[in-house]
């Protein structure tokens, strides 16, 4: 069939399965996708520009709005870059708390992703179950930071506030029940024959492409690329914690989704260990000026977010505001794979592939 006979379908920018505001221009041959071009930028809010006119502390709320499914990550990555730039040593307790909240955040974020795999394939109930788990994490975060979504919790030099009373017990309760709940979702979703049929062999990403295209996180690990910054470029207190990095073999949507699922189980293990090792102490570096003015220079630091390696590149000119902030967004790199992965599959698969890349457009478009 020649290109002229193809149907061009515009999926988005407001479409139930674009997970935000992505527009995918799809050229269809019947139902087969011949070309899918993601058009992004519908949520380009200019955060990088805004950061140039805000003090280092005032940027933290902005980073919340980057990856709004997992605000803690952007907080942390940004704070790490600031700390590197300003030479701040973070107290150990703060590091543990950061690890705990970020692993909980991973669960919350993956719940969204796994749930939307269900929603994309039409199993809405699984989404609800996953979201129930997410709500519990959100509750924990609310007790911690006072907000359900934009936490503004991890700050340069530590964290915003110490754990409230009874929080550790609540957290333990959550991680104790979470793996079993995950297994239920696994049975309901990834064990289901229809879901398998919908996700297996769809959107296969080869390890070579994954590396070349800069894919990271569960997307890369689903393809068997054994790369996890928590283990391979260890930061914070991760070297003291024991965890497995689940890997996929085929690089299809199923593997990506299931890597996320098992990562949640591993996160529970990490949280348990971190809670065990948590010791009292300060949660903010001492003697931190209200207005940070790091010496001129640039620094980059990255963490393993739910979507992959999330890096923040900061340039300082010695003033109290960053001269330039750039966010290396994993979702941005992962989304670039969509045309390659979706090609040759049907329109129904397109949404599954898009969902399996788990883009969050706050982060993609920044």
């Amino acid at each position: 069939m020649s290109a002229e006979c193809r149907t061009v379908v515009n999926v988005g920018p407001s479409h139930p399965s674009t997970h935000g505001v992505c527009r995918v221009l799809v050229e269809l041959d019947g139902e087969i996708v011949r070309r899918a071009e993601p058009i992004i930028g519908y949520l380009h809010r200019g955060i990088e520009k805004m950061a140039e006119n805000r003090s280092y502390l005032q940027v933290v709320p902005l980073t919340d709005r980057l990856d709004y499914v997992g605000s803690m990550y952007a907080n942390w990555a940004y704070c790490r870059a600031v700390e590197r730039l300003a030479g701040i040593r973070v107290p150990e307790r703060a590091e543990y708390i950061r690890v705990i909240v970020c692993e909980l955040q991973r669960i919350a974020s993956h719940m969204m992703s796994i749930g939307s795999t269900g929603a994309d394939t039409g199993a809405f109930t699984a989404f609800m179950y996953a979201f129930n788990q997410r709500e519990q994490v959100v509750d924990l975060f609310e007790a911690l930071s006072g907000s359900r979504l934009t936490y503004n919790y991890v700050r340069p030099g530590g964290v915003g506030a110490d754990l409230p009373e009874g929080w550790v017990e609540r957290c333990r309760e959550f991680v104790a029940q979470h793996p079993a709940a995950m297994m239920e979702i696994d049975d309901l979703l990834f064990g289901n024959v229809i879901c398998r049929a919908r996700t297996k062999g769809i959107g296969v990403l080869t390890p070579h492409d994954a590396i070349g295209w800069g894919a990271s996180g569960p997307v890369a690990r689903g393809s068997g690329v054994d790369w996890d910054l928590r283990r391979d470029d260890p930061y914070s207190v991760y070297p003291r914690l024991d965890f497995t990095v689940p890997l996929g073999e085929r690089g299809d949507c199923y593997d990506r989704g299931r890597v996320r699922l098992w990562e949640c189980v591993e996160s529970c293990r990490i949280v348990t260990q971190a809670l065990d090792q948590l010791e009292p102490g300060p949660v903010q570096a001492e003697g931190l000026p209200r207005l940070l003015a790091p010496r001129p220079g640039d620094a980059y630091d990255h963490i393993e977010s739910a979507r992959g390696s999330l890096g923040v590149y900061l340039v300082s000119d010695g003033s109290v505001r960053p001269y330039r902030m750039h966010v290396r967004s994993p979702a941005f790199a992962n989304l670039a794979l969509l045309p390659m992965l979706a090609e040759g599959h049907t329109l129904s698969d397109l949404v599954v592939v898009l969902g399996s890349l788990d883009p969050v457009f706050g982060e993609v478009d920044r």
Binding site: P61, P164, A180, N192, V193, T244, L247, D255, E286
Partner: protein, 679 residues
């Protein structure tokens, strides 16, 4: 699902396939049944839904809802800490427990209400401010000149620009108070009929005297010198504390009913035992009288002197016998700096300070050192005295050894010396390395025990000595310290004497030393960004060249305007009254807050406090840094409005307690005023 936790082990590879053939088909069919079973089981579980709005989730206490103000400048007054001495401690403790103790008050040994002082001065109630301060800091005029102001170190303002000039404000209050003095001094009568003798008229003795007078005791103070003041008179140089100021403050105390006996040395003219029998209680506040001199080789040579003797001579007569000589001061503390500056004033040709510590670690206050350097004192840091070089029994120099480090890793004093030696030429060596008490004469005829090292045996919390009815306080108990520290000790001793005399039992909590609160260490603030009107008032200083020649006062005092402006800078920490410091607005990333205030003395008020709810990102940074705790988050989250105009909350709106979670915006009040006509 009956899965135990141990059974869940993450596989290395997450890929899994159905087996082929019939087994696979069975598994496929089973997966459908499993799914149906899961949903069926879920349907039997109770729903997790919150029946909003009939029932509501309890939001976390940290929930960052809409903001609210607890109090407002111009509408609400702040709490002045005005309790009488024994009750004052419990006021402070109460505040500390509720975490509402301002840093300045908490860090002051005597817990002087510096916050109240700033409030009153900014309100043009200076005399009241003086009296407020005098409650705890018995001589604001004196301490306003010489205090080492720990309050300013803990000042919250350090976080934003520079601390409030609390000490200069004390002095300003004193100076203004002079106008009102005659009509505002009330005499305290001896209502209880009991009398207390206080030996020593230094800061601690006078503090105890005033407290005891307030409590209704008769107080007699014995001073061995010709005038009262103790170390304030003999030790503190006159360029820092003019003698007439001290004299007037003491005179005020005498006017208030204190009996002062000068030139009476207890132990020599009157035996202590006699005082003990004549008075219901005796307080030893004799301070430290002798300087320590290192037993170095050559230390007995002529020209080696102790700091206290030197200061006494220099301060008293303006002549210390160093005219035209080169003076070397050993020590890095404030006394050493005082010695050096006095030496300059009494005509030394060259004054050099040799401290053990490096220039960063010198214990003397940086501003003192700076002033000394301005005046021409030379500093030699990181050297330890090795030997006094003497020729014909006269000092010609000092050999010093390089000092590598003074403190070990744990912060203990453990100097490490290097190899290199230097000779410093000088004619006079003054040791300012510590002081000790001279109690032999005093205690010789009484039951008061003195240790072999020449120290009093004192209970550190009750200030009682080994003799019944004899108390001790001040530096004789605590060792060398600050004037305000001695005053604090005087207050405590007065409480102890009061207890003793009234037979008030001492409970356990009173015996525990009050914990010293720790305040945030403030990092250096980048003052490049601070506007002038936010800067600390600069204390005018006399010209360095001029002042170094005589004992004229160095600090010239704040002008009225400056003092008012300075007092208005106070953030009134923890008062829960918004003072319009604008730091919330400055911290807000979104410029959602607009704060303006009017600083007219006597009519200070907030002219504008607006929260533009449409811009707020609920990040909580504003409330987090609100120094007063006036700006707080509410649990209120139902913020729905029919119009954007109503989404800007003014001060009145901000002050209303929303009570519950339903948004009470301007709409609600309007709705109420319309009597629900729209229904």
């Amino acid at each position: 699902m009956a899965v135990t936790r141990d059974a869940i082990v993450t596989p290395r590879s997450v890929t899994n396939d159905y087996p082929g053939g019939v087994a696979g088909f069975v598994q496929k069919a089973r997966s459908l049944l499993t799914g149906a079973a899961i949903t069926a089981r879920a349907a039997r579980r109770p729903p997790v839904t919150v029946r909003y709005p009939a029932e509501k989730l309890t939001v976390s206490p940290r929930w960052r809802g809409a903001l609210r103000l607890r109090g407002l400048l111009g509408r609400d007054g702040i709490e002045l800490l005005t309790a009488q001495s024994p009750a004052y401690n419990s006021v402070i403790d109460g505040l500390r427990r509720s975490e509402r103790l301002p840093g300045c008050v908490g860090n002051c040994p005597a817990n002087v209400d510096a916050r109240g002082q700033s409030f009153l001065i900014a309100d043009d109630r200076v005399a009241e401010a003086y009296e407020l301060v005098r409650q705890r800091n018995i001589m604001p005029g004196v301490l306003g000149r010489i205090c080492h102001h720990p309050c300013e170190t803990a000042c919250r303002r350090n976080h934003y620009d520079e601390p409030i000039a609390i000490r200069p404000l004390h002095r300003f209050a004193y100076e203004q108070f002079q106008e009102f003095r005659p009509e505002r001094l009330a005499r305290f009568e001896n209502t209880r009929g009991k009398r207390v003798a206080i030996i020593g008229s230094g800061p601690s003795g006078l503090a105890a005297a005033l407290d005891l007078m307030r409590l209704g005791y008769g107080v007699s103070v014995y001073e061995k010198d010709a005038a009262a003041g103790g170390a304030l008179r003999t030790g503190v140089p006159a360029y820092r504390l003019p003698r007439d100021v001290l004299a007037r403050e003491v005179a005020d105390l005498v006017e208030m009913g204190m009996e002062l006996h000068c030139g009476v040395e207890v132990g020599v003219q009157i035996p202590l035992a006699e005082l003990i029998t004549r008075y219901d209680a005796v307080l030893l506040a004799v301070g430290l009288q002798t300087s320590r001199i290192l037993p170095l080789p050559g230390a007995e040579a002529e020209g080696v002197r102790g700091a206290l003797e030197f200061l006494r001579a220099g301060n008293g007569t303006g002549e210390a016998g160093v005219q035209g000589k080169r003076v070397l001061v050993i020590g890095g503390g404030n006394v050493a700096v005082d010695v050096a500056r006095v030496a300059l004033r009494v005509g030394a040709s060259e004054v050099r300070l040799a401290s053990l510590e490096s220039s960063e670690e010198v214990p003397a206050h940086p501003w003192e050192i700076e002033e000394a350097l301005d005046e021409g004192v030379i500093m030699t840091c990181s050297v330890g005295p090795e030997e006094v070089l003497a020729e014909d029994g006269r000092v010609v120099g000092m050999r010093v050894r390089e000092c590598l480090s003074v403190f070990d890793e744990t912060g203990r004093f453990a100097p490490q010396f290097g190899e290199s030696l230097t000779n410093i030429a000088c004619d006079v060596v003054v040791f300012a390395i510590g002081q000790s008490a001279a109690l032999d004469a005093l205690a010789s005829d009484s039951d008061v025990k003195v240790t072999e090292q020449g120290r009093l045996v004192v209970d550190g919390s009750a200030f009682t000595t080994s003799a019944e009815g004899v108390f001790a306080c001040g530096e004789v108990v605590t060792g060398p310290g600050s004037a305000i520290g001695s005053i604090a000790a005087g207050h405590e001793a007065a409480i102890s004497i009061h207890r003793h005399l009234e037979s008030i039992p001492v409970d356990a909590s009173d015996r525990v030393r009050r914990p010293v609160p720790t305040y945030a260490r403030y990092a250096e603030v980048d003052l490049r960004l601070v506007e002038d009107l936010r800067r600390r008032a600069v204390m005018p200083l006399a010209d360095a060249e001029e002042r170094a020649r005589d004992f004229r006062e160095v600090e010239l005092g704040l002008s009225r305007d400056h003092a008012m402006a300075e007092a208005a800078r106070c953030l009134r920490c923890e008062s829960e009254i918004c003072v319009g410091c604008t730091f919330c607005a400055r911290t807000c990333p979104d410029l959602a807050l607009m704060v303006e205030r009017d600083d007219t003395p006597g009519a200070r008020c907030l002219t504008r406090y607006e929260l533009d709810l449409t811009l707020c990102s609920f990040c909580g940074l504003c409330a987090e840094q609100c120094p007063t705790g006036a700006l707080v988050h509410t649990g209120q989250y139902e913020l729905a409005f029919y119009s954007r105009e109503f989404m800007t909350f003014d001060a009145a709106e901000m002050l209303r307690d929303p009570g519950g979670t339903r948004a009470t915006g301007a709409d609600a009040s309007r709705h109420a005023s319309e009597g629900g006509a729209a229904e």
